[in-house]
Amino acid sequence: MEAFLQILFSGLTLGAMYALSAVGLTLLWGVVGMLNMSQGVMLAIGGYASYSAITYLGLPWPLGLPAAIIGGFITGLVFYHVMVRWMYRAPAFEVNIIIATVGAAIVLESLMIRVFTGYPLDQPFSLPGGFRIGGIQLPFQTLINLSVAGIMTLGLGWLLRSTRLGRAIRATAQRRDAAQLLGVPVARVYLQVMIMAGIIAAISGVMLTASVANLSPYAGTNPMLKAFFICAIAGLGNIPAAVGASLILAFIEGSIQYSVSARFGFPTMLGLAIVVLIWRPYGLFGQRTVERS
């Protein structure tokens, strides 16, 4: 029973973290066709925005979240105007944007090291403590993270399904030409999605750094890499599938950590990803239609 709870709680904690990292990633892929290798630093930017607002500006701690949202907004804006805007019409966008975002990740990471040093800091926006059930602690922050991941997924789902903007986003993702012919300003849609992804990543970053990881320029790297596997398995572009896969994989990882060794969490995920992709090259629920040549 204790073992079960242990696995359950660590699975929930990890799963919430992965889900937070995967949502923004899969949104960008689904709409813009962009695998964002800067997702990790975008998470860290959110963490630092919150940290700076509370520590340097002396704002009360709940204002860390709006500060992160502003940081994410700016990041999305900059990404669009510096990179995406010039690239999305050109051939081989899918590969070019991966290279460009690897470059951006390194630039931003170096800048963060310059400003904040590489030493881990404490995220002041956090809720310490937790419930004790059967002698095992379930941290409050895990519950917050799960709720935030859930709210973001539902909110995003509602936006995409039921609003005029959301329909335009889906239309652009599915048939860019046809959407344009109906008067959809594709450039603006891409900008809006880029900003949404920036904000989602920033919020996720605050939650992540408040929970398991400390705040450092590399804080987002591991969650991003795990999110890669999750998205590969779930299929890029499908948000609910990404969240579901996050939880399932986190439980698998949790069980392996408990029964074998923490070392083999990553390799197990890779193995699963390879098996799934050999079986289904676009993931379990991937959208093949997004692929552009």
Partner: protein, 353 residues
């Protein structure tokens, strides 16, 4: 030979001319300046260029966006180092075994990504590199003891060392040993480059380009994607693995830092700046990036920022890379000359007519 003659040469002859030009400079360097700093810098350049040349085959020519290049390199290096360390074999022998191990691993990666496209290839291959790094970094079981100190199988986060070297110091003496390693590195680079050129200019290259540009059309012409993809991965793996083994023997150590994202980015920017898929792109890119890096040494903390920014700039504005720019310049020159001679003959006609 005049300029116009050079311009009109067949690609193969032009490659030979360019290759001999670079080779002559490379051979001459130790005679001009055999200082320790120059030698180490240029040896490193040769190593990077060897890796990027092979990566360029997979990525630029075959169009498979693999990010596992450094994993293949590290596999070659570790295999050589571990076999020398645990079996006591000469590094000359284990280097080849390392290269074959790299062929095997690279072929497996090639096979695993066969049905995948673009971003999914990137996802899976970077995952492979990450897993390899994690497994090395978290390796904490004692494999053997030297005195009372415990050593891991893979050397863990500090990497492997004390597995011997290529023995240049015994043959050439301390002072000349670096020059010996210099020429060995050069030899490896020349071999790798010849191999890459043969692939690119030969029938293989045609098949790869056909697969890259239109996989469906190529397969309807009987080009077997499975066969070629595994082949390109495996073949490029050989020289990549060999470079890894040389790296280990040269620095007498190899560690998991070679799998860092920053190393991958450095090599990626070399390839992008030089020109994706261009025969001489990797070499040019390595020279340019090493030069810029050297210039930025004073502003050490801005080096990575510079590398990242240059990569973004090139991928957006000059996707053809420096090699592509030179090629364009060349063609324009050719067109200009052509126009001038045509114009001259026209006036001649008028004069005679």
């Amino acid at each position: 030979m005049n300029g116009a003659g050079f311009i009109r040469m067949t690609p193969i002859r032009r490659d030979i001319a360019i290759g001999l030009f670079f080779l002559a400079i490379a051979i001459a360097i130790p005679f001009i300046d055999s200082s320790r700093s120059t030698m180490t810098q240029v040896i490193l350049l040769f190593i990077w260029a060897s890796i990027v040349t092979q990566w360029n085959l997979v990525f630029g020519v075959a169009g498979i966006f693999s990010l596992a290049q450094m994993a293949v390199f590290t596999m070659g290096g570790y295999t050589a180092a571990m076999l020398s360390l645990y079996m006591g074999w000469s590094l000359w022998l284990t280097s080849f075994l390392g290269a074959f191990m790299a062929v095997l691993v690279s072929g497996i990666i090639g096979a695993a990504t066969i049905r995948l496209r673009g971003a999914y290839v990137a996802l899976l291959t970077i995952g492979f590199a990450v897993v390899m790094q994690v497994l090395i970094l978290t390796d904490s079981d004692c494999f053997f003891y030297r005195g009372v100190t415990c050593y891991n199988f893979t050397g863990g986060s500090s990497g492997l060392s004390q597995f011997g070297d290529f023995g240049f110091r015994d043959w050439l003496g301390y002072k000349q040993s670096l020059v010996g390693k210099y020429y060995l590195a050069l030899f490896l680079l020349v071999l790798g480059t010849i191999f890459a050129l043969v692939i690119m200019r030969g029938p293989f290259g045609y098949a790869f380009r056909a697969l890259r540009d239109n996989a469906n059309c190529a397969s309807s012409q009987g080009i077997n994607r499975v066969k070629y993809q595994i082949l390109v991965f495996a073949l490029s793996g050989f020289f990549t693995g060999l470079s890894g083994a040389f790296y280990a023997g040269h620095y007498k150590t190899i560690g998991p830092t070679m799998l860092d994202l920053s190393v991958l980015l450095l090599l990626l920017s070399m390839m992008v700046v030089g020109g994706l898929g261009r025969a001489w792109g990797p070499l040019l890119g390595c020279i340019i990036l090493m030069f810029i890096d050297d210039q930025l040494k004073v502003y050490a903390e801005w080096r990575t920022v510079g590398t990242g920014a240059i990569t973004i700039l090139f991928i957006i504005v000059f996707r053809q890379g420096v090699a592509g720019l030179i090629e364009q310049l060349w063609e324009r020159l050719l067109a200009l000359r052509g126009a001038r001679t045509a114009g001259a003959s026209a006036t001649n006609d008028k004069a005679t007519g």
